[in-house]
C-alpha cells in the first residue's frame, strides 16, 4: 500500500510541476512588458528596471522558471496589474468563501444523492428507479447558469432569499441565508452522478456473494442494505466524489459569478476578462493545486477504507 501511495504522490508531484509550468507560461504571454505593467502608468524607468531585476526578467528562461518556483513556494504570486493588491492575499481571502460554498453544496446533495441511488437500486426497473434516473440525467444536462438564473428570478419574486454576495461566515445568522441559493444551484451538479453511481454499485453489491450470505443468515433488509451492501458500494462513491470535485469546481466558477459570491472562481474569471495576468495565474494555480490535493486525499482515504487494498 505504501508503494502504491508513494507512486500516486510522485505522479501528483509531476502534475503539480506541470501546473506550475502553465502558470509560468501564463505570465510569459502577457502582451505588454510585465515589469512596466506592474509598475503602472506612473512607473519610472528605474522602478521598471528594479521590478525587472526582482522578477529575474533579465535572466534566461530556465532560470526565470526556477525563480518563479521559488517565489510561488514562498507564497509570492505577484501583484495584480489592476489594483496592485497582493495576488496571494486576495486568493487566500477568496478561498474561504469558495470552500464554504462547495461544502454547503455537498452537505445536502451527497446524502440526497445517496438516498435516491439506494431507492433506485432497491426498486431497479420500477417507477421510482425511472424517476430517479430521469432526474439524474436532467441534472447533468442542464446548464448550471440556468438553474442559477431561475433561482435568482424565483428569489427576487418571492423575496425569500438574498441573491447577491456573501454576508459573513455561513454558520452565522446573517451569512446563512446568502449561501442557500448558490449552494442549491451548485449541489444539483453532484446529485445526478452520485445517485447514478450509488445505484450502479449498490445493485452490483446486492447481488454479491457476501450479501447473499448475510441474507441467508437471516439479516433483516435494513441490515443487508446498509450494513453489508452499501459498505462495499461506498468506496467507488468516495472515488467518484473525488473526481466530481472537478465538475463542482466548474460549477462553482459559474455559480460564484451569478450570485456575486466572492470566491476564487469569480476572481479568476474577472482577472481573465480584465487582462490581469498575475491574478489569473494565481487563481488558476490555486484551483489546480486544490484539486490535486483533494484527489491525493481521496486516494489516501480510499486506501485506508478498503481492507482489500491494504495487503498490496
Amino acid at each position: 500500500m505504501a508503494g502504491r501511495l508513494a507512486h500516486r504522490l510522485l505522479i501528483s508531484l509531476f502534475v503539480l510541476l506541470g501546473v506550475l509550468l502553465v502558470g509560468f507560461l501564463m505570465l510569459q504571454v502577457m502582451p505588454a512588458d510585465p515589469a512596466a505593467a506592474i509598475a503602472g502608468a506612473q512607473g519610472t524607468e528605474a522602478e521598471i528596471e528594479a521590478i525587472r531585476r526582482h522578477l529575474g526578467l533579465d535572466k534566461p528562461v530556465m532560470v526565470q522558471f526556477a525563480l518563479y518556483l521559488s517565489r510561488v513556494v514562498q507564497g509570492d504570486l505577484g501583484q495584480s496589474i489592476i489594483n496592485s493588491a497582493s495576488v496571494f492575499e486576495q486568493i487566500i481571502g477568496a478561498a474561504g468563501p469558495t470552500l464554504e460554498l462547495m461544502c454547503a453544496a455537498m452537505i445536502w446533495s451527497l446524502p440526497l444523492g445517496l438516498c435516491l441511488g439506494i431507492v433506485a437500486a432497491l426498486r431497479r426497473g420500477g417507477m421510482l428507479d425511472r424517476v430517479v434516473m430521469a432526474v439524474s440525467v436532467m441534472g447533468v444536462s442542464i446548464p448550471v447558469f440556468w438553474v442559477g438564473l431561475l433561482l435568482v428570478q424565483f428569489a427576487a419574486k418571492t423575496r425569500a432569499f438574498p441573491i447577491q454576495g456573501r454576508a459573513g461566515p455561513i454558520f452565522t445568522p446573517d451569512g446563512f441565508p446568502h449561501v442557500i441559493l448558490p449552494a442549491t444551484a451548485l449541489g444539483l451538479i453532484l446529485l445526478g452522478p452520485v445517485a447514478r453511481m450509488t445505484r450502479t454499485t449498490l445493485s452490483e453489491a446486492l447481488n454479491a456473494d457476501h450479501v447473499r450470505t448475510a441474507r441467508a443468515k437471516g439479516a433483516g433488509p435494513v441490515r443487508v442494505v446498509l450494513g453489508h451492501a452499501l459498505r462495499t458500494a461506498l468506496l467507488p462513491i468516495i472515488t467518484l466524489v473525488g473526481l466530481q470535485v472537478g465538475s463542482l469546481m466548474g460549477g462553482a466558477v459559474v455559480t460564484e459569478t451569478i450570485f456575486s459570491w466572492p470566491g476564487v472562481g469569480r476572481l479568476a474569471v474577472n482577472a481573465i476578462t480584465t487582462g490581469d495576468y498575475p491574478m489569473a495565474q494565481g487563481a488558476i494555480l490555486f484551483l489546480a493545486t486544490a484539486f490535486i490535493l483533494v484527489n491525493v486525499a481521496v486516494d489516501v482515504l480510499s486506501e485506508l477504507a478498503d481492507p482489500r487494498l491494504r495487503g498490496r
Partner: protein
C-alpha cells in the same frame, strides 16, 4: 458523467445489437426526435428567418413575444428566435469542432499506445492525469493564455474530452491487436503506417465514434459555460451561452432571453445524454 467506467463497456459493445435494443425503447425515440428538431432549428432556421441576427433596432428593445417576433426581441432589439437559431448553430459547431479535435488527438494517442507498447505507459499516464483534470481549468487557463475566443475555446473543449477518447481507443485497439490478421499483416511485411490505418483503425473505430458522439453533450455544456462567463466567443457573435449572459442583465424585465437560450442548450445536451444512458443500459442488460 462520461467518466463512468461502464462507459468503456458501452462504447466497446457491438453497435448493431445495441441499436436494435434501443429502437424498442420509447425514450430513445423521444431523444432522437428532440435532437433532430434542434438540428433543423439550427440549420434550416437561419435560412428561412426574415431577420438579421446582428442588425440592432433600439426602438424594438426587449419586446415580449408577438406575431412578428415569436420569442420577442433582445436588449438590442434583435429578433430573439433568429439570434437563437444562429446561436444554436454556433454552439453546435463549437461542440462539433471540439469533439472532432478530441477524437483526432485522442484516437491517435490511443492507437499509438496500443500499437507501440513502449509508448503505452508514458502516454497513458499523461492521459490519466488529464482525465481527472477539471475541464473548467482547461477553459480558464487557455482563455488566460491565448485570450478568450474561438481557438482557446475549441482547444479547451478538445483537451477536456480527449483523454476519455484516448482510453477508449486504446482499449478498442488493444483487442484488435490480439487478432491474427495483425500478425498476418506484419508477416507479409506491411509498414506500421498501413497496419495502423488499414488494419487497426479500420477495425477499432466504432467504439471511438460512439464515445465521441456521446461526449458531444459535455462539449456543448463546456462551450456554453465558458460563453456565459465571457470567456468564449465574444459579442456580438450569436452563441447560446453568451446570449444567456446578455439576458442576465435584463433578467427581471425580460427573463425569456436568458431562459430561451438556456433551454435550448438543455435541449441539445439532454437527448445526447439520454442516448448515452440508453446505450449504457442496453450494454448492462447484455452483460447480465
Amino acid at each position: 458523467m462520461m467518466s463512468d467506467m461502464s462507459m468503456t463497456e458501452v462504447a466497446a459493445g457491438s453497435a448493431g445489437r445495441t441499436w436494435r435494443r434501443m429502437r424498442a425503447n420509447p425514450t430513445m425515440l423521444i431523444a432522437v426526435t428532440v435532437l433532430l428538431a434542434v438540428l433543423l432549428f439550427a440549420l434550416i432556421g437561419p435560412m428561412i428567418s426574415p431577420y438579421d441576427p446582428y442588425e440592432t433596432a433600439l426602438r424594438m428593445r426587449l419586446k415580449p413575444p408577438s406575431a412578428a417576433h415569436w420569442l420577442g426581441t433582445d436588449s438590442q432589439g434583435r429578433d430573439l428566435a433568429t439570434r437563437l437559431m444562429y446561436g444554436a448553430r454556433t454552439t453546435l459547431m463549437l461542440g462539433l469542432a471540439g469533439v472532432t479535435f478530441a477524437a483526432l488527438v485522442g484516437g491517435t494517442i490511443g492507437l499509438l499506445a496500443a500499437f507501440y507498447s513502449r509508448l503505452d505507459n508514458p502516454l497513458m499516464r499523461l492521459v490519466d492525469v488529464m482525465l481527472s483534470f477539471p475541464s473548467i481549468l482547461f477553459g480558464l487557463s487557455l482563455a488566460a493564455m491565448m485570450g478568450p475566443g474561438l481557438d482557446s475555446l475549441i482547444l479547451a473543449i478538445g483537451l477536456s474530452i480527449m483523454p476519455g477518447i484516448a482510453r477508449i481507443s486504446r482499449g478498442a485497439a488493444l483487442s484488435v491487436m490480439a487478432q491474427d490478421y495483425i500478425d498476418g499483416g506484419r508477416v507479409i511485411g506491411l509498414p506500421d503506417r498501413t497496419l495502423m490505418s488499414r488494419y487497426l483503425l479500420a477495425n477499432a473505430y466504432a467504439p471511438i465514434l460512439t464515445y465521441t458522439t456521446l461526449a458531444f453533450g459535455d462539449a456543448v455544456l463546456l462551450a456554453a459555460a465558458l460563453g456565459f462567463l465571457g470567456l468564449g466567443l465574444q459579442p456580438p457573435t450569436a452563441e447560446l451561452g453568451s446570449i444567456a449572459a446578455e439576458g442576465r442583465s435584463f433578467l427581471f424585465i425580460a427573463p425569456h432571453v436568458s431562459f430561451a437560450a438556456s433551454a435550448l442548450i438543455f435541449l441539445i445536451v439532454l437527448p445526447v445524454n439520454m442516448l448515452g444512458d440508453a446505450l449504457r443500459d442496453a450494454a448492462d442488460r447484455r452483460a447480465s
